[in-house]
């Protein structure tokens, strides 16, 4: 179970209290009624689903109720940082990026197991 630091409560709490809320930093277009089908697809449907460092939203739903942003490594599940909603995308220290890549190999993908065995 993950331990997540809520930037509003300023406390690390158990994952039980939180709910994941999708990729972060996707702003709803201000002129949404006027955007093209492609722009709408980009905004609403398409997600990067990146392996490694991702920016995502969480809600402290059984706590303060606030939505906030997090930078998490999807390989190690390590939270690099969490920060309040509305703040711009926070840069991640270079060292964190390296570790995210180094740990990539531990994932049990076909490439990581069978691929090597060929």
């Amino acid at each position: 179970m993950l331990l997540i630091h809520c930037p509003y409560c300023e406390e690390a709490r158990s994952e039980l209290e939180f709910r994941w809320a999708g990729e972060a930093h996707i702003a709803r277009p201000e002129n949404i009624a006027a955007i093209t089908d492609e722009e709408f697809a980009e905004y609403f449907f398409l997600r990067n689903n990146e392996k490694g460092l991702t920016y995502e939203r969480w809600r402290h739903i059984h706590g303060c109720g606030r939505f906030f942003n997090a930078a998490r490594d999807t390989v190690s599940d390590r939270f690099v940082m969490t920060y309040k909603a509305g703040l711009p995308k926070q840069p991640v220290p270079p060292a964190e990026k390296v570790s995210a890549i180094a740990e990539e190999k531990t994932v049990e993908t076909w490439e990581a197991t069978e691929g090597d065995a060929r």
Binding site: L2, A33, R59, T113
Partner: protein, 992 residues
């Protein structure tokens, strides 16, 4: 219970062991009574009586004995019971402590352990090679579920689960600590002493009944000048006395999860003869540790040679545990087969206890000099450079065949037990579960912790630290404090091997077992490789090596080495299968814990629940809510009750509990603007005191929820949602409010459970409600349909809505939840006297369908737009923005021919359609037919005197008047497409 020392078993060694002879316990094994000492495991107690045969193997039903003395045991699985319900199968005899009155049975044998019909499989074993099931039982497909699987499950298997409900209870505890230490051997205890000295909060956990780990068997190690085991007990006593330390024995750290989260299973009463009723059987600990010290030690491996699975063959360290801890000799004339020095010490201990050592057969040419010298001085025959190539004895080993490596002259040596050691495998399970990365230690032929993924450190055996002084230093450092501690052991151990031994190599066909529990032999691994399994993950699944309940604690390294040999690749390149939680099996009772029976899934009940139950209501589950479904009177079935309720509501009136409706209070100067953005409708035009039916879409334009919203004041709205939708609607609103529209001054509060809601519907609704209402004129003129007012009802502050989900004149009275029952009683007393009825959700469904009112989630499914549902009028054309405005313009959402909600009338009025049934234009077309849509709601309508249905049909509204068909299994039903209003098409009744 007491007994003289001789009935404690013929293999008890006087003066050996740590149990008290006066404290005995009697138990039965397969019906025969045995006497044991308190502190014995079932394994040690049986061995004391010379019983080695305890089970039959999974596939070949071969006689099996006790292989180990600990949690890694693959063979000796037993069934332990106190009574019929308190029975647990697949318990390791080496872990289960004996208690007085225990009834123990062997498993997987019929008719008896000594004569098992299933052993016939052993003769057929050439046909049961790896992958046999996959290849043989492939066709016919139907036979798999009916014939093959039931047969295989009966023949090959473990114990049988009890059918009775578990009468025991289980506890759950959350804990936080600075340091959690897994394992209380020398390393764990030292680390705990060190950490505790810093003042840190420490939890020290060990799976055995007492601390000590390897000191249970290792009698030659001294710590601080004392016997190691005694030191360990003293250290534990010291730790227990410290306020910042918790010592948990009989507790297994079974899982190491993310961010220092660990799962522990504490066995509280399984060792007690008469457990107190208040005690839980087991306790689940969920611990969040800032730091973890892994001191899980290592596990001895067996030797892989022909017929290495006979009862009487066991690990050398196990024989030492049985002797030094339990005071039991595993035989009178014991053979030793080893590739590691540690087995010599077992031979020394046995020899000194008066057991004859037939020979030490060492496959190495050069064992450690110190142990060799000691063996000679004790007069033990050591055959270096020799191997055991076969064994004999049906139900217990009687002799072993010994051959000089590379030679051919075999000689048979009589033994009644054979103790083996191929060396030690570090227990890296928890490290690996924590997502740490292992490296292969070429010299030690073992995997060791390399890159840590969490704040944890491995010390001692599980870290490959063999030297005692080094181990102590390492553990002190890991604890973060300082302790003065000196240890000494008599012999430095050398040696070890992984893979098949002499006589079981690639050119042989012998049965040399790797995985005892799943009957996997060296030959099976080679076959798997020959058949194309080149990844260790494939080999594992093909052979099922390491997939039994022991998770391959003994077998994984051997399997890997054999695969690597055949593949001609170094071991690290073949890889290691992933270690997963749980480390050892955890009972369902512990995991489920309190979450069973009434606590499995909490029931939500409305304030009027008890009153409805008293009126004879049948309830249905709607999400977690219990809702009154219908109110049958004497002699009525559901159909008759619903028909009566439907009729009565339209003829007189009905009272309905609508408390489960989701309710959200939307307050603030920008409340109307916010709702404008969340709903498709316009809200700024709604006057205070009025209500409006609103539709909410997601950004993609599909209906998300609906409900009536009342405006109580300029800045205050009372929003209702569907019963099931309340939490997600609030979440959805909060999401937009917090992240997209944070500039709006609005506050959202869930009020679902704050209001009890009593709906009164029907022509006499006003007459029923009128006398109770004060503070508002509820005449039709002053308080028309879709009005809301704050007033009092029976003197209770209320929000009164003039709304209808039946098409009748109706009111919904919202009162604070605590007042619900009192107001309900007053209203129902008057309503009943006037001939009204109570009605439930079934009648509500029928009545709303008669009027064509949709239920989100039943008539819509997340792909339905407001226009599809015939609610296009609810989408504002004037607003420049709302959630869904762009999605609704997507090409697919505006094209012709989309599925639309329409009514269906069966040609034969008594035919009621099935909800979910598919609809076609031509029932005679070839299959697969082109399906136009499906029935979403279908009922018998007593008020219409016929069946009615609502359906999603492609191009539905354009098909009104057409005949379509609903093909069913036994017949095809012709239906006419109609509009959705079946009753009171003019809609006059609602304004009555």
């Amino acid at each position: 219970m007491s007994g003289s020392s001789n009935n404690l078993g013929a293999f008890r060694i006087k003066g050996a062991g740590r149990h008290t002879p006066a404290r005995t316990a009697r138990f039965t094994f397969d019906g025969k009574t045995y006497t044991a000492m308190e502190g014995d495991t079932v394994a040690s107690a049986l061995l004391a009586h010379g019983v080695h045969l305890v089970g039959r193997s999974f596939k070949y039903h071969r006689p099996r004995g006790i292989l180990s003395a600990g949690a890694e045991e693959p063979n000796a699985l037993i069934d332990v019971s106190r009574d019929a319900a308190r029975r647990q199968p697949n318990v390791r005899a080496t872990v289960q402590e004996v208690f007085d009155g225990a009834k123990i049975s062997s498993q997987n044998r019929w008719p008896s352990l000594k004569f098992d019909v299933g052993a016939f499989n052993d003769l057929l074993s050439p046909f049961f090679a790896a992958g046999f099931y996959y290849k043989t039982f492939m066709w016919p497909k139907e036979a798999w579920t009916r014939v093959y699987e039931p047969f295989i499950r009966r023949a090959a298997g473990l114990g049988v689960a009890p059918k009775e409900e578990d009468p025991d209870h289980y506890a759950n505890r959350y804990a936080h600590c600075d340091v959690l230490i897994a394992g209380a051997g020398v390393a764990g205890l030292t680390a705990a002493l060190s950490a505790a000295a810093t003042g840190a909060s420490v939890i020290l956990v060990d799976e055995q009944a007492e601390v000590g780990g390897a000191l249970h068997f290792d009698a030659s190690t001294k710590i601080d000048g004392r016997n190691g085991y005694d030191w360990a007990q003293a250290a534990a006593a010291k730790l227990k006395a410290m306020p910042n330390v918790t010592v948990l024995t009989r507790t297994t750290v079974f899982g190491y999860y993310n961010h220092g989260f660990l799962g522990l299973a504490e066995r509280v009463t399984d060792h007690l003869a008469r457990p107190g009723k208040s005690l839980p059987r087991e306790r689940l600990w969920q611990v969040r540790a800032k730091r973890v010290v892994l001191a899980t030690g290592s596990i001895e491996r067996h030797m892989v040679f022909s017929n290495n699975d006979r009862p009487g063959i066991m690990l050398a360290s196990a024989a030492r545990t049985f002797l030094n801890h339990h005071g039991v000799a595993v035989g009178r004339n014991v053979g030793v087969y080893t590739a590691h020095d540690s087995a010599y010490e077992a031979a020394f201990d046995l020899k000194r206890a008066g057991v004859s050592i037939a020979a030490i057969v060492d496959c190495r040419a050069e064992p450690g000099e110190a142990v060799l010298a000691e063996a000679r001085s004790l007069g033990i025959d050591v055959l270096t450079g020799h191997s055991v190539t076969d064994t004999f004895g049906r139900l217990r080993i009687s002799s072993m065949t010994v051959v000089r490596n590379g030679g051919s002259n075999a000689r048979k040596i009589k033994v009644d037990a054979l103790i083996v050691s191929a060396g030690w495998t570090p227990s890296v399970h928890l490290f690996s579960q924590s997502r740490g990365k292992l490296r292969f230690d070429e010299k030690g032929q073992r995997f060791l912790p390399d890159i840590y993924a969490q704040d944890c450190v491995s010390v001692g055996g599980c870290n490959g630290t063999d030297d005692l002084a080094e181990l102590i230093d390492e553990a002190i450092a890991a604890g973060g404090g300082s302790v003065a501690l000196a240890g000494e052991n008599r012999f430095d151990w050398t040696g070890g091997m992984i893979g098949a031994a002499e006589g079981a190599g690639p050119d042989t066909v012998v049965k040399a077992f790797i995985d005892f529990q799943h009957d996997v032999t060296a030959k099976d691994i080679r076959l798997a490789v020959r058949e194309g399994m080149h990844s260790i993950e494939h080999i594992k699944r093909f052979t099922t090596n390491g997939m039994a309940s022991d998770q391959g604690k003994l077998s994984n390294m051997h399997g890997l080495a054999i695969a690597a040999e055949v593949l001609d690749r170094p071991i690290p390149q073949v890889g290691l299968t992933t270690f997963r939680a749980p480390y050892t099996p955890v009972t369902y009772g512990t995991l489920i814990n309190h979450s069973r029976g009434d606590l499995f899934d909490p029931a939500r009940k409305t304030p009027m629940h008890a009153l409805e139950a008293a009126e004879g209501a049948e309830f249905e589950d709607v999400g977690n809510w219990k809702r009154a479904w219908y109110f049958p009177r004497r002699g009525e079935d559901m159909h008759a009750a619903v028909n009566r309720e439907c009729r009565t509501v339209r003829e007189v009136a009905g009272v309905f509990d609508a408390s489960t409706l989701g309710k959200i209070e939307v307050v603030g100067p920008d409340a109307a603007q916010f709702l404008n953005l969340i709903y498709t409708n316009a809200w700024d035009t709604l006057k205070p005191g009025k209500c409006r039916y609103g539709i909410m879409t997601r950004e993609d334009g599909f209906i998300y929820d609906d409900g009536v919203v009342g405006r109580l004041a300029e800045d205050r709205f009372h929003v209702t949602t569907t019963t099931g939708g309340a939490p997600r609607v609030l979440h959805h609103m909060e999401d937009y409010l917090q992240t997209e529209f944070p500039h709006l001054k609005v506050w959202l509060t869930s009020t679902t459970e704050q209001w009890a809601v009593i709906a009164v519907q029907g022509p006499k609704a006003r007459e029923i409600v009128q006398p109770f209402v004060e503070g508002v004129d509820i005449s039709n003129e002053a308080f028309p349909h879709m009005s809301v007012a704050e007033c009092t009802v029976t003197g209770v502050p209320a929000r009164l809505f003039r709304v209808s989900f039946t098409g009748e004149l109706g009111f919904e009275i919202n009162v604070p939840a605590d007042y619900g029952p009192a107001v309900w009683k007053a209203i129902w007393e008057r309503a009943e006297a006037m001939g009204a009825c109570l009605y439930g959700t079934e009648t509500m469904h029928v009545l709303r369908a008669e009027k064509g009112y949709i239920i989100v989630g039943q008539d819509t499914d997340g792909t339905v737009t407001p226009d599809d549902a015939g609610l296009g009028w609810a989408v504002s054309k004037k607003k420049t923005d709302f959630v869904g405005i762009r999605g609704l313009k997507r090409p697919d959402l505006v094209r012709d021919g989309r599925k639309q909600l329409v009514g269906l009338l069966t040609n034969k009025p008594s035919d009621v359609l099935e909800e979910g049934a598919q609809i076609v234009a031509d029932p005679n077309q070839p299959k697969p037919m082109t399906m136009l849509g499906h029935v979403t709601s279908a009922y018998w309508s007593e008020n219409c005197g016929r069946s009615i249905a609502i359906a999603l049909v492609a191009g539905g509204r354009a098909r009104i008047g057409q005949t379509l068909y609903v093909p069913m299994k036994d017949r095809t039903i012709a239906v006419e497409v109609t509009d959705m209003v079946f009753f009171d098409k003019e809609g006059g009744r609602i304004n009555g």
